[in-house]
């Protein structure tokens, strides 16, 4: 299976429903500083169930909801959906398209859905773990390379130790 599309709605700087179709191979995202590129990366972390709002550069989860000063009413929640093409049946769900959705409200409470049906975060994590080997370690976030440059030899050993 492969990820076919990301959909953002009210998530950080993406106020309106925004669809980003994904290549089976290499998808590249460009644009000026501050336009929202890293916010898309944050959206991926978010929908895959990451538990630290700080990793997504937010003080608390409710900060992930679009906040604009433009007079229009702010959305009440932030939502990200990740669509998978499951024609090869690799994801143990009985449908050709599998959609994972995560919504967070103004209280910072998250709701997860699988094909629109409400599930627990653990259900999502189990599903992704089995069919997609998706973890936090396949992401290199902005600044990670610089962080590793500043690391000393002890930190490096600890990182390898954690992996072991």
């Amino acid at each position: 299976p492969y990820a076919s599309k990301i959909e953002l709605r009210g998530f950080k700087s993406f106020r309106d429903k925004t669809e980003i179709p994904l290549s089976r191979g290499l998808t590249v995202i460009g644009g000026p500083n501050g336009s929202g590129k890293s916010n898309i990366v944050d959206a991926l972390c978010f929908v895959l169930g990451w538990m630290s709002a700080k990793t997504m550069r937010a003080e608390r989860f409710s900060d992930l909801i679009f906040k604009g000063g433009d007079g229009r009413r702010s959305p009440r929640f932030a939502e990200v959906s990740l669509y998978f093409n499951n024609e090869d049946g690799g994801i143990e769900v009985d449908s050709k398209t599998v959609v994972i959705t995560r919504t967070v409200d103004e209280e910072g409470k998250s709701v997860y859905r699988l094909n629109r049906r409400r599930v627990s975060r653990q259900d999502i994590v189990d599903l992704l773990g089995k069919s997609l080997s998706l973890g936090e370690y396949n992401f290199i976030l902005q600044g990670d390379v610089e962080h590793f440059v500043r690391m000393d030899s002890i930190d490096r050993r600890k990182i390898i130790d954690e992996l072991a």
Binding site: S13, V28, K37, S38, S133, V145, I160
Partner: protein, 155 residues
Amino acid sequence: KKDAFMRTFEEVSRNFGEIFRELSPGGEARLVLECESNPFEGGVEIEARPGGKEIRRVESMSGGEKSLTALAFILALQKMRSASLYVFDEIDAHLDDEKVPRVARLIKKYSQNSQVIVVTLKDSIMSVADRLFGVTMKDGVSGIVSLELAEYGGD
């Protein structure tokens, strides 16, 4: 628990050497335990010999060389777990115009077996995209534009 560490260490070191060789032509790099008898008493040093130079620790390399070495190390750690999706956000900022296309080629290679999403400011990464998107912002609201990849110049 030393055995588990040593097995992981050996494999990361091997991955690291291979990836570094691909990113730095004619270059070699390896991980070295500061305290071989008891790894947990020391750290892990990185020794590298970028193409044509003598071997030295990463701490005495140039800014861009450190960045390349750190990238190779992160990718070596990632290689320990197979993944079907990779996301890289601006991993090329400190690299010169000869290194960036090498990173592009490596990312392209990854994308043959896995899905890869890359955020970049650099043209030579954008030019190898299968799909290319531009992010725009107007009045504090982001939008997406699908960009056509046109072939310029000779092939």
